[in-house]
């Protein structure tokens, strides 16, 4: 997408759980799969040959089913889990070679984390929780409280600072979790299924809040989810994990249009494609065509809106504009074709 230097690079990362991971790693490198490894050596293959670049200012979403290694992967970013082999480079420095003090420094200043189960300190007030990162860093009480208060207000929890976490609802607790992470002023924010424990409406709110904050803050966010809708909503870059390996990564719209694995096809077959796909992913170049348009569409409109505009007429075409300039043509015929999940194998026809 862009030529920016990655903020975090994961290079050839392996993680194997068990008493003798080094020997098991040998087997894995020789091609043994997760099930076979478990059966033959009683080791669990957590991650295998992971290569991911996380670009600054983007939301990188890591998606996969339960047990695919998402939590294991995100915990390598701040080394809550030690890798069996491989590198984690943050701003070009190998985190794996850090000693304890340097690692603590990284966790205090560069990376913050939001957890699925909130993981707030139950014996501290909301304000104290929000300012926790500052206090850990050794800043004094008033500085920590000021930062905590600022971010609590920002996530919409002004007025609750004196309460204890158990006095808040799940959604509010996660707002505290978010404020706590933001108050650390770290460039990188790790979010492990941060919204999965919330009910759908609250979850939508939180997603909106995150996107709104991200517009101003431009943080580097690594977001884990098992929910494709959430992934498509948030992701600038989508990484799909299966059994500890990356099966596909890239621009979410591209993955949706060109899944390269039956696993991903399964994933994408159930979503409302008209709502998720955007005009920019389906349009064609202008090629000098200037007439015969039934209207104007924005590159970021979703297909649902176009169907509405065309009134369902597949013969129409639309002029696509970005910031007021023509950038392409959308043929309704292409749009309709894009609504049917693609099958890279080409074998079976439309389901």
């Amino acid at each position: 997408m862009s030529e920016k230097e990655p903020k975090v690079r994961i290079r050839d990362l392996y993680k194997i759980f068990g008493p003798d991971p080094k020997t098991a790693l040998q087997h894995v490198r020789e091609g043994m799969g997760k099930a076979e490894l478990l059966e033959k050596t009683n080791h669990v293959l957590g991650l295998r040959a992971i290569d991911v670049d996380v670009l600054p200012g983007e939301i990188t979403v890591i998606m996969g089913l339960s047990g695919s290694g998402k939590s294991t992967l995100i915990r390598h970013f701040n080394r809550l889990i030690e890798p069996t082999a491989g590198q984690v480079l943050v701003d070009g420095e190998d985190v794996i070679s850090y000693d304890e003090a340097a690692l603590r420094q990284l966790r205090q200043a560069k990376m913050s984390m939001v957890f699925q189960k909130f993981a707030l300190l139950p014996h501290r007030t909301v304000l104290q929780n929000a300012g926790m990162a500052r206090r850990v860093r050794g800043e004094d009480e008033s500085a920590a409280n000021a930062a905590g208060q600022k971010w609590l207000d920002r996530v919409g929890l002004g007025g609750f600072e004196g309460k204890y976490p158990h006095q808040l609802s799940g959604g509010m607790q996660q707002r505290v979790g978010l404020a706590r992470a933001l108050a650390s002023d770290s460039d990188i924010m790790l979010m492990d299924e941060a919204f999965s424990a919330l009910d759908p409406l609250i979850r939508t709110d939180m997603q909106a809040l995150l996107l709104e904050l991200q517009k101003d803050l431009q943080k580097t966010i690594v977001f884990i989810t098992h929910d494709l809708d959430e992934a498509l909503k948030l992701a600038d870059h989508l990484v799909i994990l299966k059994d500890g390996s990356v099966v596909q990564q890239g621009e979410p719209q591209q993955i949706l249009l060109n899944p390269n694995d039956p696993y991903i096809e399964d994933f994408v077959s159930d979503i409302n494609r008209a709502r998720v796909l955007r005009v920019r992913s389906v349009m064609r170049p202008m090629n000098g065509k200037t007439t015969g348009f039934s209207g104007v569409a924005d590159v970021n409109d979703n297909l649902e809106r176009l169907i509405e505009l065309s009134g369902g007429d597949t013969a129409q075409a639309f002029r696509v504009q970005q910031d007021g300039k023509d950038v392409g043509v959308l043929e309704m015929r292409d749009l309709v074709r894009a609504l049917v999940p693609a099958h890279p194998s080409g074998s079976d026809s439309v389901r």
Partner: protein, 349 residues
């Protein structure tokens, strides 16, 4: 001759056995034989029926082979071994435990020196701060008024002062030990059998080696016995409490870069506090149980009265002092449990 003669003959040990023949003290069996008026020859002539085959114990074997020691010699040996290490042990343990005597004596002097019209209000104030419960304050007040009225006040205060000191020392030593256990599985594996032993050992057995090590006039003698017995729950529950702290919260603490010290003081101990407090409650109750038994080794307090009741068959003295102990037990239990509930309430609803 004796039953196992044949065995030693067969093994060709006869000369070794007889070389050591001596006329040491007679064994219990020989004494019995003598008093029954039979000579050894008569018994031997009758022969031992197979059904009465004696267990090959030290005594039975020694009868056939004088070179083997008898059980009585063995116990004497243990005693001598103990006495031999006693003096060096005393050189080390004496000074180390001396502060305990000072603490016990000093606190007792202080408690006794405070006039009742000061001490009782102080206790009531402590109760109020710990529990915030009017009912408990009234109960404590009534209990002390009752004990004062029947002239048991001084004894109760002595008992209380011993419990006070022993509990504080148990907590001061036990919490760090519990923390160590929670941090290392190896330490835990080593400590658990020791704690099990301390807890299952009959309480009287504590006193036996201690009597040899320290003189009965020293207060640390009963202090050590009480602490050894009562420290167990606070260690166990500190360990358990810290291990039970929510994994997710610990992970969050790590993810934000807390040092292990920040984590211990800011997260683990506060979150383990309800369990630690439950341990303190049990420690107090076990101190009370032990302080009564420790009156056998000159621990002052209500136990002395119970002991007098038993020794002199003064039924009334024993029963009334027993009732006072029950009263103290209920009072200590209620007050610490109420304090514990306040800690719990502050953390979760």
């Amino acid at each position: 001759m004796a039953f196992y003669d044949g065995l030693f003959d067969a093994l060709g040990l006869r000369t070794w056995c007889d070389a050591a023949e001596s006329d040491g003290p007679m064994s219990m069996a020989q004494l019995l034989q003598q008093s029954s008026g039979q000579t050894a020859e008569q018994v031997a002539a009758a022969g031992t029926p197979l059904l009465e085959t004696p267990f090959p114990s030290l005594d039975a074997l020694a009868e056939a082979c004088p070179a083997i020691i008898r059980t009585r010699d063995m116990t004497t040996g243990v005693e001598e071994a103990f006495l031999a290490v006693k003096d060096p042990l005393k050189v080390v343990l004496g000074p180390v435990t001396q502060p305990l005597s000072w603490a016990l004596d000093g606190t007792m002097d202080l408690f006794e020196a405070l006039p009742w019209f000061l001490l009782i209000p102080i206790l009531l104030l402590i109760t109020w701060y710990a529990t915030r419960s009017i009912a408990l304050v009234v109960f404590v007040g009534l209990a002390f008024a009752f004990m004062g009225f029947i002239d048991h006040y001084l004894y109760a205060v002595q008992t209380l002062s011993i419990i006070f000191v022993c509990t504080i020392i148990s907590v001061v030593l036990g919490v760090p030990i519990g923390i160590l256990m929670s941090r290392s599985n190896t330490v835990q594996r080593i400590a658990i059998p020791i704690l099990d032993m301390l807890q299952t050992l009959p309480t009287f057995v504590y006193l036996i080696p201690l009597i040899f090590l320290f003189s009965v006039t020293e207060s640390k003698l009963y202090g050590i016995a009480i602490i050894l017995y009562a420290i167990v729950p606070v260690i166990r529950l500190t360990d358990l409490g810290i291990r039970l702290v929510d994994r997710d919260v610990i992970e969050a603490a790590d993810a934000f870069g807390m040092t292990s010290r920040q984590k211990l003081l800011g997260v683990q101990i506060p979150l383990a506090l309800p369990n630690i407090m439950a341990g303190v409650n049990q420690t107090i109750m076990m101190s009370l149980a032990m302080v009564v038994i420790a009156s056998l080794v000159s621990a002052p307090g209500l136990g002395v009265l119970v002991l007098r009741g038993i020794r002199n068959l003064e039924l009334g003295v024993g029963l009334v002092s027993g009732f006072c102990i029950v009263l103290l037990a209920i009072l200590l239990d209620r007050v610490t449990k109420a304090a514990l509930n306040r800690v719990n309430a502050a953390q979760t609803h």
